[in-house]
Symmetry: C2
Subunit: 688 residues, 2 copies
């Protein structure tokens, strides 16, 4: 079967340069080559083989992850990989593990919140993995509300130590990844108490386990919190529970970059701005948006390839049945997800620029764009993760019954992705933050304060309240300015309407609480606008799409911006343009209630958008396989029999089935005790 | 802690008679008492204990299911339970197993499709479980399109036998539950071939395994198809793969109630109408709708109780934080699901009546209502299962991070429910069938043929195209006739618009294919109308709600009908009324694009509906816990630490964590091989 390609007939239809698209997707030739090299390195290493992991029991699964983590670290050292290369390698190992938290949370927390001396002491140990760290913030009773954490860190001036303590059951640290079984250290968040006074929640470096025998230190209780959603998935991670019984740590293990506790127990603010922490948030959320596009594109790749392999109905004369990808019902569910994958990819690239921009401003003590950047990243985190989780499950359904098999890869992809809707800010809580920022922005419009960045369009609110969509034919929807104006008008009108409703309440907080569900809808509208086309410069009031061609910098990575660039490669621009319109017009169709109720478009125009969508689906159809090939995923990384590059689905599904432990014996364990007595009607006497 | 009730303060707020509501939910006092008795029987039997099942490996899990199935059968025999009681007992064991298919598919298939002689031979064996059967229809390459099945049954007149054969890999039977490891027999669907001619797909009783040693008979290959989505969940079931290498069975093992094959190999239609098969479909789908309300209500019960236990934010002065159930964002997501659970419950009860009605008509050779009944049940199956799967996942999200733990019960509930969207008709394929029926109904409106049953409103299409919603205040939305007319007008106008678009195509089939996504939307609108208020009598053109009070029979079990009945018990009617309006107005809000684009309501009226919804949430709030208590689920059946009746969540979560196998040892297996060398930088020499 070597060399068979059941999808060759599909690939032959492609109307664009797939290699060029691979680079556009990756962001640059450098990024493409790097990730391609690392993906192949992992895929070709038998030690990183991952099929079968959904069949393992918890202990076996976890031990297997420890093995892979050690092997990955060994390879990283042997090959002297750069930090960037090592990150890609870990990514392609594709298994949540304690190292994610060590590299992704423990080290960044020390870098962000530790003093220079603290960094000098702890970072070299962490970089060499001589200590392994995790991030212990959430507690059994406390998640979103960080200020409600109960763990205490009480300064004892007698001994110059902090006493870390868990005063209640609900104060048990709960969820931190890497905590349960592996980490030797943790950043523990606790209420700082000195001289009997509380000073808010701060981070402390606490050693948890002996570096000799790995036993928890006296007074520390640690365990794993148990099974989580799905097969394999996050069960490879030792999310943990942790309680402290008056544990003492030296004073210099409080992270003191922003607030210092002196030898006498006095709190002294440093001259480092507290806002720095928001810079970190922007960074973390940018990576979450990038991860959303990755997870979504994997699911879409599987569902698209299988939809081209699977045939059902449509054969009257005994010939081949119709490929399910040719059904409009399948296309209208699948292609918007394909478009979303690309959209999230490009808005993620743009967020990288935003992070750089924010960082540079912070270094220059310019905090002006921070609230907007914070709201923008919060909203995009929420929007992209919710959409991605839903989309993975939709892709599973698009694969019919076989999508329910672990061999499809989709159940694990869903289960492993689902927590993204909750961690780093619950998605609804985040949208409320966006809504609060939008309401504030609207309330200040009269004051002459110009809204910046992604909210700049609200500066043109008077125009947007009055503008009138002039679409008269389906093709009229293929103008960027028309689409953009519709999304801007919808969001602006929803914001203004909510602000007016809020103003009817005597107490604004009561109004915010009462109308919160409506406010969330406005926040969603605003965030969708950002994805469709974000603003490049924060004081620029011109719509991005209306700008001069010469005005395009490489920080333009939003979806509509992207398609206006002259991306090299035959047909690449055309495909991106089609995907962009599918993304936007599908949203317009799905949320037509918003557009219609605010009068931004007429029912006739909504119907024309829907007609145009169908036409776009036909244009994308011959390129669908190539568009998912452009993600450049190895079969190892995809981990799906249905999504195999060669489309050789059925023989491999059949082969895979026999690997189940239940097939170890023809007659199943339990037959003699339980089934045989039933068949022979000897059950009454059986001991069960 | 015995006797603690952390939710007592919530239960004290209740404004209605919970015991009366329990009976309304159950359908009758008899149904309540029966299910209550069986639930307690199962919950109190240590052999049926189920916590911990998500931690078991596949083999252990499956053996455990065999044990429970045998124990259940033993108890059924010992207690001499009726068929109804036995069904409830198996339901509360709450674990998919081979017995589901034996009782739910194998026996009904023989009853429905077997001749009297066949029934006399096979049913006694099956009823005593001296044989165990499954239902082998779908194949590796064939699901929805039953006519595309490849397995052949060729009549051999020489020996008076059928030769059952799997000619290709894709013809392997794939998915049948109970097949992989347990069943001794199967109903096998295969293409009937006699005298070289094909006669379509028919069912055959085939013995698979020896009744002595359980080995597959010669020429038969059987195995389990491997891991499926989720922990526990359907992995307790041996969904199987099966291939035949020219297996011979006697001629009298073809199910011949409808079509007979004579000794000479001639096909003879019996005088039993083929339409009987649709009666079975109505029955099966009715049970699926009932199951949807059960699954949904379990998830809602968990999320509602936990939302009352969980507190987050809102404490400025160090007091208690706010219960998350008091946030409007939580209410606006949770309460519509609570309302949906009740709505699906009552429409499920109505479907029972529909099945009885259809059966009686079939017996009288009246097939007139069959197409409508078929479309109606297809649509309700699709609507309720899609909504329920989404709702379970939404309930999981409503439980925040802890919902992701298997201990919450929600991951397993989701994974075990998800296939309902695919089995017994893929939900999108079913909606297309509904749409086809609707388009046919609309096209016949001019011919004088009156639409019946749930499509009767289309007979008033002229009125519905012109009617004008006269809502002027939020309270105006609390009139049944107003709500009903809005839903009828929306559905009718969507149907007519689609029919008009279809008529523009030369070839109707091309049009149907091209516009299929739009047609699905119309089908959804129609099905939502059915749930809001279905028609009672098929030739009755009067809206159900406009009928005289005296006109209420006990077959009125739809949602709006239900609330018009004088249900005994203080406040019960009021609560059902509120839930009904929440169900309807939430749909109206969510699908306002439909209502607005068809001009059924104005943006202002949509906004008023939304205002009314918020007010209804406030009215439901104090009764929320009691409304989920009314489902009468035992803690055993719920299987959720978050949903415990006593609300004692945190101590039990903590306790549960320690049961994970990873906590068997303090230092995890694998530490010495993989973690220690990393910490000690001895990895280069380590053998991994």
């Amino acid at each position: 079967m070597k060399g068979v390609d059941h999808l060759a007939h599909e690939r032959n239809k492609t109307e664009f340069d797939v290699d060029a698209m691979k680079i556009a997707w990756a962001g640059s030739r450098h990024a493409f080559e790097l990730s391609d090299r690392m993906a192949r390195l992992v895929a070709s290493d038998p030690a990183f083989q991952k099929d079968g992991r959904t069949r393992l029991g918890r202990k076996e699964l976890f031990k297997n992850t420890l093995r892979k983590a050690a092997h990955a670290w060994k390879r990283i050292l042997e090959l002297r990989l750069t930090e960037e290369e090592a990150g890609w390698l870990r990514n392609f190992v594709d298994e949540p593990s304690f190292t994610d938290l060590h590299w992704g949370m423990f080290i960044p927390a020390i870098k962000g919140q530790g003093t220079d001396e603290q960094q000098q002491k702890w970072l070299p140990l962490a970089y060499k993995m001589q200590i392994i760290g995790c991030y212990a913030q959430t507690e059994l009773g406390h998640g979103s509300n960080v200020q409600g954490l109960e763990t205490t860190a009480t300064f004892d001036p007698e001994t110059d130590e902090f006493v870390i303590h868990s005063p209640t059951l609900t104060s048990s640290k709960w969820w931190p990844g890497g905590l349960g079984k592996v980490s030797t250290h943790a950043i523990v968040y606790a209420r700082l108490i000195t001289n009997g006074q509380e000073h808010g929640v701060h981070g402390f470096i606490v050693q948890l386990r002996s570096l000799d025998d790995h036993m928890p230190l006296p007074g520390i209780t640690i365990g794993d919190i148990g099974m989580k959603f799905g097969n394999g998935a996050y069960n490879t991670m030792d999310n943990g529970v942790l309680t402290f019984d008056h544990i003492r740590i030296p004073r210099n293990q409080m992270l003191m970059r922003v607030l210092q506790v002196t030898r006498e127990g006095k709190c002294v603010q440093s001259n480092v701005p507290r806002q720095l922490i928001y810079g970190t948030m922007v960074f973390v959320r940018q990576t979450i948006v990038a991860d959303a596009s990755t997870a979504l594109s994997r699911a879409v790749c599987i569902a698209t390839r299988y939809s081209a392999v699977r045939r059902q109905f449509g054969s009257q004369d005994g010939g081949m049945e119709t490929q399910v990808i040719d059904y409009k019902t399948q296309q209208s569910r699948l292609f918007p997800l394909l478009a979303s994958a690309y959209a999230f990819r490009f808005v993620g690239e743009w967020l990288k620029w935003l992070y750089t921009d924010v960082t540079q401003r912070l270094q220059a003590n310019d905090f002006s764009t921070l609230p907007e950047a914070h709201a923008c990243t919060a909203g995009l985190k929420s929007l992209t993760t919710t959409a991605t989780a839903d989309a993975i499950e939709e892709c599973r359904k698009l694969c019919g019954g076989h999508g329910y098999l672990c061999a499809s890869g989709l159940p694990e992809l869903f289960a492993v992705y689902a927590p993204a809707c909750t961690y780093e800010g619950d998605n609804v809580v985040l949208l409320l933050q966006v809504a609060r920022f939008l309401m504030k922005t609207v309330s200040q419009l009269g004051s002459g304060k110009k809204p910046v960045g992604t909210t700049a369009y609200l500066g043109r609110v008077q125009d947007l309240l009055q503008c009138c969509c002039d679409v008269q034919t389906a093709e009229d929807w293929l103008k960027p300015s028309v689409v953009l104006e519709a999304f801007e008008a919808r969001s602006a009108r929803m914001c203004v309407a909510r602000a007016q409703n809020l103003s009817k309440f005597e107490n604004p907080e009561d109004g915010f609480a009462e109308l919160s569900a409506d406010l969330v809808e406005a926040a969603v509208a605003h965030c969708q606008l950002i994805v469709v086309s974000k603003r490049k410069e924060e004081h620029d009031l011109t719509p991005a799409m209306a700008r001069d061609e010469s005005d395009h910098h490489n920080k333009d990575e939003g979806f509509i911006d992207k398609l206006q660039q002259d991306i090299p490669g035959k047909g690449v621009n055309q495909q991106l343009q089609n995907l962009c319109y599918i993304y936007a017009l599908n949203l317009l169709h799905k949320y037509r209630g918003d557009f219609l109720s605010t009068g931004c478009i007429t029912p006739k125009q909504a119907s024309l958008a829907n007609d145009q969508l169908r036409s776009l689906y036909s244009q994308i159809r011959p390129n669908a396989i190539a568009l998912v090939d452009a993600f450049n995923y190895t079969d190892h990384y995809l981990g799906s029999v249905l999504g195999r590059y060669d489309g050789n689905v059925y023989p491999k599904l059949y082969e895979e089935a026999w690997k189940d432990p239940l097939n170890d014996s023809v007659v199943p364990d339990g037959y003699h005790e339980y089934v045989h007595p039933m068949l022979k009607q000897q059950l009454r006497n059986a001991r069960l």
